[in-house]
Symmetry: C2
């Protein structure tokens, strides 16, 4: 069910068996097949999503009417449009499964209630958010210092298994380059 989530929480704070029961009152679990949506443009991002197993992508539609991927979420990652989530404003993003995926979700209302009932979970989420900030600082640095070619090589050597798992055009989009150019880079490196 939501084993990986509890396992992860326990990496950062103590969580009693009873706490676990409490958490279970607030969360939902859902099973997604390939290409199912958790969020789409125009809707408020009412939930935080935790990937138990599988893979999600987050994207928006750019001016040229094509999908621009901004994030992937793999096992053990939380994902949401946080701006929309916090302010209850409509999102411009889509969140969609790339493969069969198990999700734990919690609505913003229940998130508040849960944290009221179990305040020591604040620490877990504070750490998770802190890690997310660290990760985005790191990613921003990479994008500043690397050319597209270097960024592609960096990514493909850092996450070779991931390259197998998702279609090329999605990786190209995430890396901010065209499928055509990525194809050229690929050829060059084989």
């Amino acid at each position: 069910m939501s084993d990986k989530l509890f396992q992860q929480i326990r990496k950062f704070i103590d969580l009693s068996a009873n706490d676990e029961l409490v958490v279970n009152k607030y969360i939902n679990t859902l099973q997604l097949n390939k290409k199912e949506f958790l969020l789409h443009d125009g809707k408020v991002c009412n939930d935080l999503y935790f990937v138990e197993k599988g893979c999600l992508r987050m994207y928006f539609i750019n001016k040229k009417d094509s999908e621009q991927i901004t994030q992937f979420a793999l096992d053990g990652w939380w994902i949401a449009d946080y701006m929309s989530f916090m302010n209850n404003t409509p999102s411009n993003y889509y969140i969609q499964s790339i493969e069969k995926t198990e999700i734990v979700s919690i609505s913003s209302q229940k998130f508040d209630d849960l944290l009221k009932e179990l305040p020591h979970l604040e620490k877990y989420f504070r750490i998770i958010m802190q890690k997310a900030v660290a990760a985005s600082q790191h990613r921003a640095k990479l994008m500043y210092e690397m050319t597209k070619e270097e960024f592609y090589i960096h990514f493909s050597t850092s996450f070779p298994e991931f390259m197998q798992r998702v279609p090329q055009y999605m990786i190209a989009s995430y890396l901010g380059l065209t499928p055509e150019y990525m194809s050229e880079l690929r050829k060059k490196k084989l």
Copy 2:
């Protein structure tokens, strides 16, 4: 002293006069003149910094031996190299004042101690981090969807007062364009 910090904390949680005294045991305040450093390459980022008043920049040295700015921090913002802060690993960044600046700082050790003594501050920091994640999602989206020219126009119209406050070459660096190209864009828009 650290008025703005307490004021900000109270926007998100209750903070008693006594809590305030406790916090004061853990934090430091410091006054910086222009161009003083809080962090430099090779050093561990041992503190979180809160800008009471003034302006900081965070940058690293790229392959071409020039400064690449990744973040600014204005009044009311927290800044740190979170990767270095959390893992106690050496940073590749510099954090430096751009003008006369008042800072509140807290070391990672004292940060932990403070949160142990006042656990309900976890909520404040959770929210701060969550906002930081939201902001970086937003920034990433802008960088994906805009050309450099659009990004420059967006930035200069969104923060006109800031444009006056810091040298052009720093803004160019932050926006990821050369001073020469930015100069060209400027001319075009006047």
